[in-house]
Amino acid sequence: MSLLEIKDLGIVFGGLHAVEGFNLTLEKGELYGLIGPNGAGKTTVFNLLTGVYKPTSGEFYLDGVKMNGKKPVEISKAGIARTFQNIRLFGKLSVLDNVKIGLHNQMKYGTLTGLLRLPKYFSTERRMNEKAIELLSVFELDGDADTLASNLPYGKQRKLEIARAMATAPKLLLLDEPAAGMNPNETNELMQTIRLIRDKFDLTILLIEHDMSLVSGICENITVLNFGTELAKGPTAEVLRDPEVIKAYLGN
C-alpha cells in the first residue's frame, strides 16, 4: 500500500480553481518534489493535506486511511507534519520549548499533573528534554536550546521548524521551501540533513522548492504545478528538461 494517495484533489476559492484534479501517490521512503511558478498552488496543496483548507473535490489517504475533511490536529496525529513558507515558530519561547511542543502528542501528562508537579511530570519532562535535545542535535541546534526562537538567525529558524515537525513523529513530512533565503553552502548542508533524517527516521518527504539545485539534488521524482493543475510529472531530470515546464518557468 502506498503511504500517501491523492485522488483528484481540488479547491475552489470564490470561483477560482486554486488547485484542480491533483493526483499523487507517494511510496514509503520517497523524497518527492513539488515545483512550479509562484501562485501555481503548491502551498495550497500543503494546506489541503494538513487540513488548513477543506478540499472542495477529491480525496486523499494516508496509509489507506481517508484524511480529507479532518481537522489539522487529527491530521497531525495521523502522521503528517509540515513546515511553513513564511516561518511560523513560537517566537517568544525557547528553541527547546519549540521542539517540546512538537512532542505534545508523543509524551503526555495531564494539566493537573503539571500543576501539582506529580512524579510523572518530572519523568516525562526529562524524557521530553532528552528527545528534544536529540532532535536539535540532528540540526546542530542543541547549543541554542535556551535561545528564544525569534532571536535565531534565519537559517537556523528554518532548521528549527523542521526539528519541531520531526518531533511529532510524522510518517510524512511536508517541507515548504526549506532552502529559501539560504546561501549555496547552507543549501548543500540542508540537503545532507534532509537525506539524513529521511534515512534515520524512516520518513517520506514531500517538498516544495524553488532552488533547482536542491530539487535535482535530492528528489527522485517531481510534479510541476501551473495554474493549479499538473503540468508534468516524473523523474526529476526528465521533467526539468520538458519544454512545457521550461516555458512555464521562463514565460514565452
Binding site: 489539522p72 490536529v73 515558530l89 503539571g114 516525562t124 535535545i133
Partner: protein, 363 residues
C-alpha cells in the same frame, strides 16, 4: 569531533533552570514583602491607611496574575475579567452568610467558600469560554466585556431570601414572598450584607503564593507550553497537533477560577458586597488590564509589582487631595510612554549596550 561536555541538558540537570530560578525570585519577593509588612503591622508601626491596603493589594495581585494568564500567556484580550471575580465573590459570600450561624469553624467555612467561589467562577468561565474563544482580537474583547456586564446586571436584579420553607429566588424584591422571620440574603442592588470578615493579610498572602505557584507551574508544563504556542502561532500549533479549543478553554477556566478566589477574598474583606461598575464592572476589568499591561504581558513578576503599586497609588496620593486622580492619570500615561515609547526603548537599549560593553572591557 568529541561531543561538547557542556550540553544544555547536562547544564540543566546540574543546577536550577533559569525559569525555576526566576519564579523562585518572584515568590521570594512576595514573601519578603509579606514578612516585612506583617512585622510592621504586628509592631503597630504600620499606618492604618497602609494596613487596610494589604488585603486589597492581595486580591489585585491575584486578579492581575490570573488575567495575565489570559492576556499575556494565552494572548487573548479580555476586558470582562471582573465578572468572574463577581461570580466568585457572590457565591462565596452567599455561602458564608447562609452558614454563618450554623458553621462553627470559621477557617473551614472560609475554605469551603473559597472552593465554592473558584468552582462557580470556573463554571462561568467554561460557559463563557465556549462561545467567546471562537472569536478573535477586539471582537473577543468586546464579548468578554459583554459577559462581564451581563453578570453584573443579573446579580443586581437577583433577590434571594431564606425562611423556614427554604430559599426563595426572584427577580423582584416584591415577589420573593418571604414568611415572617425570613431573611433576605442577596438583596438586589443592595447586595449581600454581613459577610464574615475572614480575609486578612496572611490569607491573602497564602492565596497570592498559591496563585503564583499555580500559574508558573502551569506555564512550565505541557499544558502551559501548548497555551503559549497558541499565542505565538495558532496555525503552527494546530499543525503540530495542539488542540486549540481545549487549551484556550483550559487557560480561560483556570484564570476564571483564580479570579473567583480573588472575589471571595474581596467579599470577606468588606461588610457590604454590591456589584457596580467600579468593583465588578468594566472599570475594574480595565483597571486589572492596566496592571497586566504595565507589568508586562506574560511577565508574572511584572503583574505582581504593577498591581501592588498601582492599587496603592491613589491611596498614597491622598496627600495631594483634589489632584489625586489627576496625578494618577498622568503617572499612568508617563509610565506607559517610558516603558514602551520608541524613544525610551532605544535609549534603554543604548544604555544596556553601554553597560554590557563596560563590563566586557572590565573583564
Amino acid at each position: 569531533m568529541a561531543k561538547k561536555i557542556n550540553s544544555p541538558l547536562e547544564k540543566k540537570s546540574a543546577g536550577l533552570r533559569p525559569v525555576t530560578k526566576k519564579n523562585l525570585v518572584t515568590l521570594g519577593i512576595v514573601t519578603v514583602f509579606y514578612v516585612l509588612f506583617q512585622t510592621l503591622s504586628s509592631l503597630g508601626v504600620l499606618k492604618n491607611a497602609y494596613q487596610s491596603l494589604l488585603v486589597p493589594i492581595c486580591y489585585s495581585v491575584i486578579m492581575a496574575v490570573s488575567l495575565n494568564l489570559v492576556v499575556g500567556v494565552l494572548g487573548e484580550l479580555s476586558i470582562g475579567h471582573a465578572g468572574f471575580m463577581c461570580v466568585g465573590a457572590y457565591c462565596g459570600a452567599f455561602f458564608s452568610v447562609v452558614t454563618k450561624n450554623s458553621f462553627e469553624i470559621g477557617w473551614l467555612r472560609f475554605l469551603i467558600a473559597m472552593i465554592i467561589g473558584a468552582v462557580a467562577a470556573a463554571i462561568a468561565g467554561f460557559l463563557i469560554g465556549i462561545p467567546v474563544l471562537r472569536l478573535k482580537g477586539d471582537y473577543l474583547a468586546i464579548v468578554t466585556l459583554a459577559f462581564g456586564e451581563i453578570i453584573k446586571s443579573v446579580v443586581n436584579v437577583l433577590y434571594i431570601g431564606r425562611d423556614d420553607a427554604g430559599f426563595h429566588i426572584a427577580m423582584d424584591s416584591a415577589k420573593v414572598g418571604l414568611q415572617e422571620g425570613g431573611v433576605m440574603i442577596l438583596n438586589g442592588p443592595q447586595g449581600i450584607t454581613g459577610t464574615p470578615r475572614n480575609s486578612n493579610f496572611t490569607v491573602g498572602f497564602i492565596l497570592v503564593m498559591l496563585t503564583l505557584i499555580i500559574v508558573t507551574n502551569l506555564m512550565d508544563s505541557r499544558t502551559g507550553r501548548a497555551v503559549m504556542s497558541l499565542r505565538d502561532n495558532r496555525i503552527a500549533a494546530e499543525s503540530i497537533g495542539v488542540n486549540v479549543t481545549k487549551y484556550k478553554l483550559t487557560a480561560f477556566v483556570i484564570s476564571a477560577a483564580i479570579a473567583g478566589v480573588a472575589g471571595v477574598l474581596y467579599a470577606h474583606n468588606l461588610n457590604a458586597l454590591t456589584a457596580n461598575t467600579n468593583n465588578f464592572g468594566y472599570n475594574m476589568s480595565i483597571m486589572i488590564l492596566v496592571y497586566v499591561v504595565l507589568g508586562g504581558l506574560g511577565s508574572i513578576r511584572g503583574s505582581v509589582i504593577a498591581a501592588a503599586l498601582l492599587y496603592s497609588l491613589p491611596e498614597i496620593f491622598r496627600g495631594v487631595g483634589q489632584y489625586r486622580m489627576l496625578l494618577y492619570a498622568i503617572v499612568l500615561i508617563v509610565m506607559m510612554i517610558v516603558n514602551n515609547g520608541a524613544f525610551f526603548v532605544q535609549y534603554k537599549e543604548k544604555l544596556k549596550h553601554r553597560i554590557r560593553g563596560g563590563r566586557k572591557e572590565a573583564a
